[in-house]
Subunit: 105 residues, 2 copies
């Protein structure tokens, strides 16, 4: 019996096109919507001019699959490919261990 609980990270790295229209609203809406999905644990995002990295955290692979096929998310995924992203790379990874540094926390 394995009592260790694992969770999963979706590492989304992307290069944007020059098209800004609609992007910020859609990105904001997707974070809002993801947060309401079963198994969602959190999301972190950083973007500089050359690359964006968004990592979302999920309880299970099923939760990730459910979010991937969410109807409104599917629309935005299509728009991402047609309009907002030059390229992207998605990695689904199981978190094996972690540690934190937070001196005043």
């Amino acid at each position: 019996m394995n009592l260790q609980t694992h969770y999963y990270a979706v590492i989304f790295t992307s290069v944007r096109t020059a098209v800004a229209e609609g992007y910020d609203e859609a990105a904001h809406r997707m974070v809002e919507l993801a947060a309401t999905q079963p198994g969602f644990l959190g999301v972190e995002s950083a973007r500089d001019p050359s690359l964006g990295i968004t990592v979302s955290y999920w309880e299970s692979l099923d939760a990730i699959a459910g979010w991937k096929r969410h109807a409104e998310h599917l629309d935005v995924q299509a728009k991402g490919k047609s309009t907002w992203y030059e390229q992207f790379h998605v990695r689904i990874a199981r978190v094996e261990r972690e540690y934190e540094f937070q001196p005043d926390g």
Copy 2:
């Protein structure tokens, strides 16, 4: 027998202090040095004013452990805690699957 090859991602999320001195040089040097380590596969980084995310990719947990205890890296880790980082979080995760979008690639 499992012929599937997995690799690992180290997800480093950080909040910086206001101290800029020495940071860019050290960050640049660490990327350069990591790239020479056994089992190193690549690194991607993005930082915006509130958060930085660096994801490095490695062949094995041993490769990650080796890099973590590299002498010059240990010095920089100590400096990171004392000077450059307000807080950080490290997650070591096994990449289970991935896909890419690159229309002109």
